[in-house]
Amino acid sequence: MSKQTEIRLGGSGGQGLILGGIILAEAAILEDKNAVQAQSYGPEARGGASKAEVIISDGDIDYPKVQKADVFLALTQKACDKYLPDLKMNGLLILDDKIELNPTAYENFKVVKVPIIKTAVEDLKKGMVANIVAMAVIQQLTQVISKESLEAAVLKRVPKGTEELNKKALVAGYELVKK
Amino acid sequence: MSLGSPVVKEYFRSDRLPHIWCPGCGHGVIMRGIAVAIDNLKLDKNKVCIVSGIGCSSRAAGYMDFNTLHTAHGRALAFATGVKLANPELEVIVVTGDGDCTAIGGNHFIHAARRNIDITTILFNNKIYGMTGGQSSPATPQTEKGTTAPYGTVDPDFDICKLATGAGSSYVARSTAYHANQLIKYIEKGIENKGFSLIEAISGCPTYYGRKNKKGSAVDLMNYYKDYALDIKAAEKLPEDKKAGKFLVGEFHNETRPEYVSEYMKLVEKVQKERSENE
């Protein structure tokens, strides 16, 4: 069976995680992989928890929604609480450092806590790019796509004039993992 | 105990708050204004019925603690007509959006106005379809953008007050979320008017209208209404060049003429009387 990675991104409405998901998926496509991206719409989009999903695969993707995620990234407590149950046993859990976690979670998942939002807000002075930082973190931790593809995908999607900022965000994300 | 100001406690379902609207959305200001107007008029809560269509604006009905009816897109006035005629004791207030009322609901709008049925319509005009994500509406000014008007809107917008007047509405006024006190006064007058009243309340949608058209933040939108609203009475005295770029607010029409439901009740009385005389 072909290799398939199911990623879920959780956060709040304005955090750009859908764009993040699109970028991941497009990066995969640049590598000639298969990819789908889906999200939940709904009134939640204005506040509340929101999620985006990406599936990256070497082969066909039958069911295009994430059932049990291999990777779950959460930027808010709410999203973490809501979607954590759908993470696979031993799945990769990436959290913004502000998020509190039930101790048992550490046993069930590979937990990585990194200051994603802080990095964006304080280091890069643009809260907006937290999503890009986050994608870089995912890249580093999963290697499901290459840095090159990710950068190309980012540059294709972000507004003109923000290319440098976003590149910096990527680098900052990579650094977070190395640390 | 429920949260909020006295008006909120009295007239809102505060357990359903905070509402779902975006930060800075003008709809909240207008919704509060309606409650204040009702409070000022000391209406019997149980006899107030708020009817809305579908849209961000139309969600107001769900937050307000009256008999509330959230209908289908565009149909608020048609449902409201049924409610009012069936129970004339109810004070029927329609909350609707520019899309809800003047796009899909346009026909019910002009006919409610024609009948001069005693319904007060408060139209939350944010000049865009907020709920569905920023498509242009019949109130989007020409050349301004919406997601379905990426090159700028081709068709001109309605002058909604003119349309209401042309259709027969007996009370017609416009104000803005910024001019909330004036707005409240108009709502009160609309409710007091025995007939169809249209209060166009200019509302800010920073999320879509604002963003699409580079109008800045919620505060910027408020400032715009503050600076560019021109009272029609003041306008009468101004030279043309001072009016350029401004939009008119104020009472555009106020006339007393027979109201539909009471005319119908007169007819019921008359035919019943005639009948009993004939028996």
Binding site: - | A78, A86, L267
Partner: protein
């Protein structure tokens, strides 16, 4: 004791008389052939009994105002024909969703589209079940005589009030425009059901919660002192919008269940010589009259033919149709359309019984002779 009133009356008129007998107080609609007489008679009679009639700007508004009238506490009705029935579909779905009792009459004419506006048809039978988007409950009745137009209108109101749902009265033009001798039943002779209201001032009233042992939520009228919310969105037991999956599922189950769990109360039909029928005719409305005559003539000729006449079209009387096809190995469905009611017959019939269909859509009613011919072909 009041003397029986015997009259020559049109189907459409009997429908109004039935509605008034059931307590109709509110009519909103838009005229369209061949249903217009219903509006016209309502416009005359309702004010006489203190009720309200309003001609709305279109059928959409007619349906909307009907729902509004019902919410304000009055028994409400609207009537239309094909094109208007299509237009009403969105708001019909609203009434189904928000559980608003009301009666919608569709006097069927030949479609599709404008079609043959004055010609009879039974072309809207499937639309009555599937016309609005999404899964939703449906109750549809269809009369075969002027007297039954009266009776079924009463029943339509009773079912609407009891199950808090829009109920369709589907009449074909044959019955709608037929003038026939009718003995109008006096008030004691028919049941009238009124919606169950909450106990006044009930502090625990939840607008959309079903009380133990009851079928549907009790329904307060606007103005009764219960400030509640009504919406076409998926809602919880208070009537407020919710997107939770279990709320959605419960609501849909309730909507469908209140009908499906009560089919025995809702479904009625009439049978003529079905006991020993080798060939069973299924026909409804005006066509059932022709079928009845055909059955008589065939019996005279020694053919064992019977007639099953559904009076409740929807929910489909599947139990009974299945039973009948255990005995009658041939079934002939006769209807003024190209094959609508025959579809569920196919679904529920016994595997070894064979289904034939005779449909006609040229604007003429189906005559007994045509049916006899088909019977003989199939027999």
């Amino acid at each position: 004791m009041s003397k029986k009133v015997v009259k020559l009356m049109q189907g459409n008129e009997a429908c109004v008389e039935g509605a008034l007998a059931a307590g109709l107080q509110f009519y909103a609609g838009y005229p369209i052939t061949p249903s217009t007489e219903i509006a016209e008679i309502c416009s005359e009679k309702l004010p006489l009994v203190g009720g309200k009639f309003i001609q709305m700007e279109d059928e959409i508004a007619g349906m909307a105002a009907t729902i509004g009238g019902s919410l304000a506490g009055l028994k409400s009705m609207t009537a239309t024909s094909g094109p208007g029935f299509s237009l009403k579909q969105e708001n019909i779905g609203y009434a189904a969703m928000a559980q608003i009792p009301c009666v919608v009459v569709d006097v069927m004419r030949a479609g599709p589209s404008t079609g043959l506006p004055t010609a009879p048809s039974q072309g809207d039978v499937m639309q009555a079940k599937w016309g609005t988007h999404g899964d939703h409950p449906t109750i549809t009745l269809t009369p075969n005589s002027v007297r039954e137009a009266f009776d079924l209108t009463v029943r339509a109101f009773n079912l609407a009030e009891k199950y808090r749902t829009p109920v369709f009265l589907l009449m074909d033009e044959v019955i709608g425009h037929l003038r026939e001798r009718i003995e109008i039943p006096s008030p004691g002779e028919y049941e009238v059901f009124d919606r169950i209201k909450p106990i006044p001032n009930d502090k625990n009233y939840k607008a959309y919660a079903v009380k133990e042992g009851e079928i549907v939520p009790r329904m307060a009228a606007f103005g009764d002192g219960f400030s509640y919310h009504v919406t076409g969105l998926v809602y919880d037991e208070f009537g407020f919008p919710k997107t939770d999956t279990d709320v959605a599922e419960n609501l849909l189950n309730h909507l469908m269940g209140k009908i499906e769990n009560n089919v025995d109360d809702i479904i009625t039909y009439e049978e003529t010589q079905t006991e020993d029928a080798e060939l069973l005719i299924i026909a409804y409305g005006g066509v059932a009259r022709a079928a009845a005559k055909a059955v008589k003539e065939c019996r005279e000729q020694g053919l064992k033919v019977g007639l099953f006449r559904p009076i409740t079209l929807w929910p489909f009387p599947e139990k009974r149709v299945n039973q009948l096809t255990q005995k009658s190995k041939k079934v002939l469905v006769v209807e003024m359309n190209l094959g609508q009611y025959v579809i569920p017959v196919h679904r529920v019939k016994e595997p070894d019984s064979k289904v034939f269909h005779y449909g006609k859509v040229n604007g003429e009613p189906i005559a007994p002779d045509e049916i006899i011919k088909k019977i003989k072909e199939a027999y």
